[in-house]
């Protein structure tokens, strides 16, 4: 049951019980009072009745005495003048309305009578009593004659001795009974017993007015003789006596009913008054449980509930404060004091959700070479750099902006842009802020930042999506080796595309849709073919021939690159073995990714491929990008050593662009470095780049490595590289990548370097090119 119902019902029942008790008590008291009142009335009535009888007696006595004392009457008695006596008696009796006037001898013989059917000479009914002095002079007695009841008084006639009785009486008939009962509002009943038979000749109880059981009675015995008994009974109807009390009781019941209804409303109101704030408090608690601490508890009362509400508010504030502290711990980056990713995403969500949101730009900032700073200058310096960068990003503070450090060398930043502002300009401004070297311990340190930018709502509306867009832009910038890139929709392979791309890639492997393309490498000095790099194309059934840029980055992201690498390895080994068997031993290079190096069983796969196809390991070169060493250099080193042990050649791809330190390079079991095409393209125009290229070539040679230049597009570049004693060259000048058949026909008739001679050149750096040439064992037939 609800608290409200419980309170209301309890209250209501309590009031009902009190009212019921009160009514019961009042009813009982009323009945008691009525009975007592009736008893009192009967007492009074009895007294009044007796008093009336006494008055009758006195009146009768006086009248009788008056007659008896009259001298003339005495004379008439002496003379036995019957008629005179009768008239005298009647005269006296009629004055007071007496019903009976009789004169008898002392022995009860009637001398004269009036008002009653008795003749002189008869014996008066009460003769015996009179004779026996049973009637005292002046006392009244009761006589029943002819069914009528009389109250009689007898007085002696003295002359001067008693000579006769004057008897005078009233009839106790119905009329007299009414008169007797009138002053008391009681009913009077006269009962007579003659012998043993009771009769009730007179009653003023209304016929059927009151049932017998409801009458309260008081009996007065007027006379009790062996043969005669007369009882006067006063009665009162209890129902009638209760009537006024019952009116009062009815009023009380009305009041009780009204009180009950009123109390029901009051109980309901009271209960609601209690439970409504309780419900509000419950709601407030629910809010707090849900983590909303800023919902005000709007209960303003002076009672206990008010105190409770106030306490709840205090508690709410305390919890909120603690929650913020915990949040700070959970959301902040302890080093820089910036937000962490979680907090940043939340803040960004809030910023995007703000009603007044204009465009919001998000920048993801990646620090190049930060790992190197940590490695070479120590974590203290690295941390100091991070703090400085953080300070630059947060200054000047901007409203509606936030800065976070997402992980070791990645920051994120968002800001509200003024309407119409150019997000790219903002991004470039940010870049320029980060361009200056960070000065730590008075030592300037170059920190190169790559920035990916995305803008809401143009690019995405949701924080996570916006972050992803920025991330894609960052990824794009890194891939393109640019410092800054803004997001473009084309960067996002839609989820559907990606899923289908993955599926298609799987199918492509199964359906042999991938194609090996071959790009030949020159021996620059002789312009003879020394090797070839195996590249991939996808002969897509619908989209036609696709370059590696379309699917390889995606394959790298999804890890599918491993299958592709193994597939490529297998096919390249098969092709190489086929050529080897045909007597055309052409070293083939395939690209190996970070993922492959991280695969601890990779070298076994390589060994199996070599063995399976019977390819001379020396004919296989694995090109590893510098970035392959970054994540786990030790594992990478272990893998390279294992691969080297197989006898395959190892090459550092994109040399000069990554982080590979020369010191590392010296200890790597590699055979070759490839100078990145970005250098090759620029070095003709830029003497400094040319110097870098020259140094790189020299250094490679000094380490006993073969040096390959990529991206040779012009004769002049080729000549220049030749002047620098670069060993091999690769580029459009020589040939674009070609499918197998075209490559084979292209190759036909051209000079080739004896590939297998290459390892022997390691010891003799100076005469490397010459010895390689000498060791060429076979040339493609023309």
């Amino acid at each position: 049951m609800l608290l409200r119902t419980r309170i209301a019902v309890t209250f209501f029942l309590l009031v009902a019980a009190v009212l019921a008790t009160a009514l019961a008590v009042v009813s009982a008291a009323n009945r008691h009072n009525a009975e007592r009142e009736v008893g009192r009335q009967l007492d009074v009535g009895a007294r009044v009745f007796m008093r009336a009888m006494e008055t009758n007696r006195e009146q009768l006595t006086q009248a009788a005495q008056a007659v008896a004392a009259d001298y003339a009457f005495k004379e008439a008695v002496a003379l036995r003048d019957t008629d005179t006596l009768a008239s005298a008696l009647q005269n006296a009796g009629s004055r007071l309305g007496a019903a009976v006037e009789v004169l008898t001898t002392l022995h009860g013989r009637v001398l004269a009578a009036s008002g009653i059917n008795i003749k002189p000479g008869m014996t008066f009914p009460l003769a015996r009593l009179l004779r026996a002095r049973g009637v005292q002079e002046g006392n009244s007695t009761i006589m029943v004659a002819d069914g009528r009841i009389y109250q009689l008084v007898a007085v002696q006639v003295r002359s001067p001795l008693p000579v006769a009785w004057v008897v005078m009486g009233f009839a106790l008939d119905t009329k007299a009974a009414r008169e007797l009962a009138a002053p008391t509002a009681l009913a009077l009943t006269m009962s007579v017993r003659s012998g043993s038979v009771w009769t009730t000749p007179i009653t003023t109880v209304p016929d059927g007015g009151a049932r017998r059981g409801e009458l309260v009675t008081r009996s007065i015995t007027l006379v009790k003789r062996p043969r005669l008994e007369v009882v006067a009974t006063l009665s009162r109807s209890l129902t009638a006596a209760l009537a006024p009390f019952e009116r009062l009781t009815r009023v009380l019941y009305l009041i009780a009913g009204a009180s009950l209804v009123g109390s029901a409303f009051a109980a309901f109101w009271l209960a609601r008054n209690i439970t409504r704030p309780l419900r509000q408090l419950t709601d407030a608690v629910d809010h707090i449980r849900g983590g909303a601490y800023d919902v005000p508890v709007s209960i303003h009362r002076r009672d206990e509930l008010g105190v409770l509400a106030e306490g709840l508010q205090v508690m709410q504030r305390a919890v909120s404060t603690r929650d913020q502290a915990i949040r700070r711990l959970a959301y902040d980056d302890p080093l820089t004091g910036l937000m962490n990713r979680t907090a940043f995403v939340e803040a960004l969500t809030a910023a995007l959700g703000a009603a007044s949101a204009g465009p919001v730009a998000v920048a993801l900032i990646n620090l190049h070479r930060f790992k190197r700073i940590n490695e070479h200058l120590g974590f203290a310096v690295g941390d100091a750099v991070l703090v400085k960068i953080a300070a630059r990003l947060t200054a000047p503070p901007a409203a509606g902006a936030a800065v976070a450090r997402l992980n070791a060398d990645q920051f994120a930043l968002f800001a509200h842009l003024p309407p119409g502002a150019d997000a790219t300009a903002w991004g470039l401004a940010l870049q320029s802020r980060l361009a200056e070297p960070a000065v730590v311990h008075a030592q300037p340190l170059d920190v190169h930042a790559t920035i990916g930018l995305a803008t809401a709502p143009a690019d995405a509306a949701v924080a996570e999506d916006l972050m992803r867009c920025a991330d894609l832009a960052l990824e794009f910038a890194r891939r393109e080796k640019r410092a800054f890139a803004a997001y473009l929709p084309t960067l996002t392979p839609s989820a559907r595309d990606q899923l289908s791309l993955l599926g298609e890639l799987r199918r492509a492997l199964d359906a042999d849709e991938l194609r090996l393309y071959f790009q030949p490498k020159w021996e620059i000095s002789s312009r003879r073919i020394a090797a070839a790099e195996v590249l991939l194309r996808w002969q897509h059934p619908a989209r036609g021939l696709l370059g590696p840029g379309v699917f390889l980055p995606f394959a790298e992201q999804t890890g599918f690159i491993r299958q592709i690498t193994r597939w490529t390895l297998d096919r390249a080994a098969a092709q190489g073995a086929a050529w080897q068997k045909a007597g055309v031993a052409l070293p083939l290079a395939i690209n190996v990714t970070v993922d492959d190096l991280a695969d601890t069983g990779f070298h076994l796969s390589v060994a199996r491929a070599l063995e399976h196809h019977g390819l001379d390991p020396a004919l296989l070169t694995l090109e590893v990008t510098e970035s392959g060493f970054i994540d786990d250099p030790k594992q990478a080193l272990r893998m390279l050593q294992a691969l080297a042990a197989l006898g395959v050649k190892l090459s550092i791809d994109d040399f000069g662009t990554g982080y590979s330190s020369l010191s590392h390079l010296a200890h790597l079991p590699v055979d070759e470095v490839k100078i990145d095409q970005s250098f090759v393209r620029q070095f003709e125009a830029d003497p400094e780049v040319a110097a870098v290229v020259r140094s790189a070539i020299d250094m490679g040679h000094r380490l006993g490595l073969r040096v390959v230049a990529e991206g040779i597009e012009t004769e002049s570049a080729a000549a220049l590289l030749g002047g620098m004693h670069c060993d091999l060259g690769q580029g459009f000048l020589i040939a674009k990548p070609m499918p197998l058949a075209q490559f084979e026909s292209w190759l036909r008739g051209r000079d080739r370097v004896a590939a297998l001679a290459v390892p022997a050149a390691r010891a003799d750096v100076a005469g490397a090119s010459g010895s390689r040439r000498r060791r060429a064992i076979k040339v493609f037939p023309a």
Partner: protein, 214 residues
């Protein structure tokens, strides 16, 4: 009511002597007769009246006077015995007035309201018991016993009345106001010898003085 009409007469031995015969023979010496009357318990029945009526002759009427005074609203004496024909005077010694009356058959009379001495006396000319009352004062009561014989007496405090009766035959009658019924007349023969009689009255019943003297 236990009304015993027996009268216990304790008579001394009645002696009828020759003397009585002599007396009866005419004018000779009377014999002394004493009568003792007692009430219940042997107490003297004061004011009881004893009357001897000669049975063999009629005494000649005699005119006499008597006085019944009224003092302090009482008749004095209370009981008076007179011979028939006696005139009685009713002086009023009180300062208030009285009205003496009688409804007794022997003498019905009523005097007007008076004070002092009345103008005339009342002659009681018939034998019988006359009850006197005062019309104004109901408590005033007196008895006048009118008899036809000269031989009567009221019992004094001693309880014994004395007579000198000529020899002869008499009826002795006794009356008391406290009697309920008449005492039967007793025949008494008086000779020359003294006679001592005694009688005990039963006064226990309802007093009916009128009935006691029929």
């Amino acid at each position: 009511m236990n009304r015993r009409r027996s009268i216990r007469a304790a008579l001394a031995p009645a002696v009828v002597g020759i003397g009585a015969l002599l007396c009866g023979a005419g004018g000779v010496r009377a014999a002394p007769v004493t009568v003792q009357v007692t009430a219940g318990g042997g107490a003297p029945a004061v004011d009881a009246v004893v009357v001897f009526e000669p049975r063999d002759r009629v005494p000649p009427p005699a005119h006499a006077d008597a006085i019944i005074d009224q003092i302090h609203k009482r008749f004095v004496p209370h009981v008076t015995v007179i011979r028939t024909g006696t005139s009685v005077t009713f002086p009023n010694s009180d300062r208030i007035r009285h009205q003496v009356y009688s409804f007794s058959p022997a003498k019905v009379f009523s005097m007007k309201l008076y004070a002092g001495s009345p103008k005339r006396a009342v002659v009681f000319d018939k034998p019988g018991l006359v009850v006197l009352g005062c019309n104004i004062h109901d408590t005033m009561l007196a008895f006048v016993l009118v008899v036809n014989t000269p031989y009567f007496a009221k019992i004094p405090a001693s309880g014994t009345a004395s007579f000198d009766l000529p020899p002869g035959r008499y009826s002795m009658r006794v009356w008391d106001e406290a009697l309920a019924a008449p005492v039967p007349a007793r025949p008494v023969v008086v000779a020359a010898a003294p006679l001592q009689l005694s009688i005990a009255l039963d006064l226990a019943g309802t007093h009916d003085p009128v009935a006691a003297w029929p």
